[in-house]
Amino acid sequence: MAALPAMRQLGCLRSFFKTQEAIQPQISRRFISTTYSQRPKRVPFPSNIPEQFLSQIPVRHQPQNAPKPIKVYPPPPSTRAVCKDPIASVTESQLAEIDPKGERKALFDYRRNPRSIKQGDIVRVTFKNGDPFNGVVLSIKMRGIDTSFLMRNELTRVAVEMSVKVFNPNVSSVEIVQRAERKPRRARLYYMRSRKHDRRSVENVVAAYVRQKKAFMGGGRRR
């Protein structure tokens, strides 16, 4: 009896064995209206009909007036097959112009590149025109050519956030000032906007970095 429950699992196979018996008798039990019949084959028009009979057939049914088969022309080569994702191709051509070496892309590709900028890092962005902006990276939005990152800082005791498009040609450089102490557990650090978690100003950190860098560069020049 111990084997019985295991046998029950195979009960579904019963239908396989029964199919032959079950379907065969059903055909005979069908209604007349549903019995299968062969599709009638087209009977070719008899060729040797006397003229007197042929003239009695309606004009549109006479063999010479039968509808001619429509010629279907093949389609020309498709551009859709050549380029299946035009948005990607447009983006690629843009990136080849703006970021030919792919450095910027790698700098923000935090999912693939371990050395990239990550959420929680303090960065310094310099623009072609105007002042640099420093801040903690709250989030990185990967959107192809529209990839951007959001920075937060405090200027004159007012919290400031700035979103910068990575591939904007007006962005001349992005430097990592300080890495996050440990990897944050979120992809978007919007909790840093709350008073409890706010990082406040990062200016002193950046100032120290700039001083150090200047000394390093200056030392290099003196030699």
């Binding site: 551009t79 948005i87 112009e97 703006i98 050519i145 040609p169």
Partner: protein, 296 residues
Amino acid sequence: MSPRLPGKLLQLSSSIWAAQCTLPRGPVRSFGIKSLNEAKPSRFNVGPGLPVLESTSTAALRRKANSLPLRSGAIATKKGMTAVYDPETGKRTPCTVLQLDRVEVVSHKTRQKHGYFAVQVGSGWKHPSNMTKSLLGHFSANGLSPKRHVFEFRVKDESGLLPVGQSIQANWFQEGQYVDARSNTKGKGFAGVMKRHGFHGQDRSHGVSLTHRSLGSSGPGQGGGSRVYPGKKMAGNMGNTQNTVQNLKILKVDSETGVVVVSGAVSGPKGCTVRIQDAIKKPWPEVAPAAESVTA
């Protein structure tokens, strides 16, 4: 109803019957109430200096002559949106990517036969078994493969009629020129008046119950005829109607991949069919070399 002839006349010989026919008819009978004094002609609507009435088809075409493009447009598919940067100025332009696929001229509409000039253009490919015989015959008569989309583009005169079977590539448009894009907007389904017409709805409280998002009154009472006027804005199906976005600049063109990049947004979801034609509110593009290559 013709006046009935007396029975005797029918029996007369044929010559007399013919003579009867040639006789001039009497005054036309008219029915109804007639005025004894005939209406005076209007003092204002007579005279030699009046303009000719312009309710003819020729006049209609003349009126449209300045707003009809000189050449045909193309059928494209909306692929989605992205942005283009100008490397010098760093200016970012949001843009829509369109793709032209197997766009060919199917037939013409002419003034003589149809009353106006237009180019019938088809794009894509459709399996012939999914097509009606009449449409299939229309394509095969012009020596074309069955097309999925067929649209007409009105042109000013016969000089804008491309030869049938001519394929329209992406380089039909030039970078920097302006186009109008017409397509169906995104369907929103059955929408209420607040969403559909921007009504303000009703109060949250102050005794309002169950009608916070509905319209107020649908019309005046006894003084206004006690009826709802035609065209009253009400809830109903929203979206999925044709919309034209004018003056989109062409940013990029690639005839190999059929890609046309236009600035700004185009109505409708991704994958919708978009008709693009030269913008009617901008000067016509200089297409002399293109027109020559078409005829050659």
